[in-house]
Symmetry: C2
Subunit: 383 residues, 2 copies
Amino acid sequence: MAFQVLRKEGFARLGQLTLAHGVVETPVFMPVGTYGVVKTQSPQELKQLGTQILLGNTYHLFLRPGLEILEKWGGLHAFMNWQGPILTDSGGFQVFSLGTLRKITDEGARFRSPLNGDEIFLTPELAAKIQQVIGSDIAMVLDECIALPATPAQIESAVKRSAQWAERFFEVPSLPGQKRYAILQGGTSLEFRKLSWELSQKLPMDGLAIGGLSVGEPHHEMIMILEGLAPLLPAELPHYLMGVGTPRDILEAVRCGVDQFDCVLPTRNARNGGFFTQNGLLNIRNAEFKWDSGPIDENCRCECCSNYSRAYLRHLFQVKEILGCRLATTHNLYYYHSFLKQIREALQQGRFQAFYEAHQPVLAQAYPDRWERSLEENKKESL
Amino acid sequence: MAFQVLRKEGFARLGQLTLAHGVVETPVFMPVGTYGVVKTQSPQELKQLGTQILLGNTYHLFLRPGLEILEKWGGLHAFMNWQGPILTDSGGFQVFSLGTLRKITDEGARFRSPLNGDEIFLTPELAAKIQQVIGSDIAMVLDECIALPATPAQIESAVKRSAQWAERFFEVPSLPGQKRYAILQGGTSLEFRKLSWELSQKLPMDGLAIGGLSVGEPHHEMIMILEGLAPLLPAELPHYLMGVGTPRDILEAVRCGVDQFDCVLPTRNARNGGFFTQNGLLNIRNAEFKWDSGPIDENCRCECCSNYSRAYLRHLFQVKEILGCRLATTHNLYYYHSFLKQIREALQQGRFQAFYEAHQPVLAQAYPDRWERSLEENKKESL
């Protein structure tokens, strides 16, 4: 079996996912490497930070460098010189983000290339083909994502269309060694989530993803869906929560049986001077850090915290030096990987529940969603 | 003695410069770390690349982070976490670059802070004080730089004012452990250069710099000045050619007895996709590299050339990923440091003349100045 559950505690699982380019310990965080690079980081650095598996964006890689280049190199691994596992999304979320610039029918999604205006018609079959050319270890079905809030009719339509697309996706002969995951849609309606599962369950999937969350709904609604889905998710398959989230989201989702995560938060916040800590996002641009000779986090062993003061890091952002953004990315990815490692250790030692109870209240306060914060705080923060 | 000449061949010297933060083998290239950081690189990486000594810009550091911060940290070394030697310029060149925004009198240079409009009055005494707060291993006198071409009267005036400023600079009690260099001005007139030397020679200098070159004059005029100065430069002191230059410039200057160099070319070109090679600057954005699976330079052992193809590097620049700029900086600094190391080895082995004869024609073709190129080529290139 590609996926093995080593320990269970409630719905939470410690697992091992064996892929073409290596074994991944789960629960795992997958940094986002949109264009065949995790912003500011080299593949060697990612490995040193504890990265086990990367995410690549099908939509972006299709545009640049494009399939011809990737074909010549025999896939993304060789092109970017990353020897570990890669998961690719299907491009569905990016097409959804194009808003009115795309037209979605039962056939697929039609849009124009932002580079040269060429018409592109992304179908489930093309999404499968692109991901085969990329040569990812895990490929995702093409799904239809919708914005929340949405009407029941809109949600139902997206669930059914996604199920049809998933069937077409799995009809494409698979690439040897490549795992394929289905995706559940259904917004924040548990009923539609169950429908999505019923329509998907017969697919020959190697893993199951939960899509269409963390797209604007309150935190508690996401948790409600995850709690509702937890008993339904197939126990023998890895569960991947797409595009999520804060450390708090991740802790809750692990409790609900999720094994894989990806999110732009650690890399995107780094570019704006946001450093992840147990006590929330620290914005290094704040004037209070001008004289601060301490590290971002005294207990952190990353390259950034081992070598540089808050005052120096603030200076780097003040003068717009790239090293600031690099060091913030280094710290944030280290923070995420260390947090997941702590979770795996707790699961290994049968004390995940205690870990959850100790950390959940702290993280809930450190990472409130925008519905839990004042207008004033929302203006200042940008999680 | 702080400076020891170990070998001589013609005017070229192999030397050893003992500074407060370490010993520097000369001839040496000093990367430019304007704001307390060499763009995109961490101090550890610089050391691995072979950097022996950094340059910091007094003007920029005075503005940000400012003297109060540097004083609290006890200098730039601790603030930026670089344990090796640092040379600081005096701010003269940056003030000169402000053009009509500054007013220069015999007293000093008056200008407004680009940050907050505050009036700043940079005097020889203040330049000395700032560099003492920075705590650099080598401090430079404040000089008056002028643009070329200039009238004889303008050049003479700058030479005389620079000499007066240098006297005032050396009247400031020195910081224990800090070396102080005088600067020769005089444009491309050997006569005024000699005057500058006559007016400076009694100063208690630890080294002598040649300023005001590589500011727009043709390559051959710079070489003529260097050749004319070579027999005049004090043999027991280190000679530093400020702000120079291409690998070709450096080879010629070593032949004329220069020991220290700084230049923004390797870091600035990196940001635009320019990679230094023996055959000239390779612009990775060019379409011809789209399918090129080879490294920038097959014989280069740097991290960039050991791991990435030209096609991938071009892709990084196409999608504006910071890793591209980082890897180009890594390669270019490695190239410069390796080139200087080859020169030192040739001097050590008494074969500098042969080295010069083998490399000079190649580099002259690879790095023509804008006077030697066609209008067409000048449009394309930006050395």
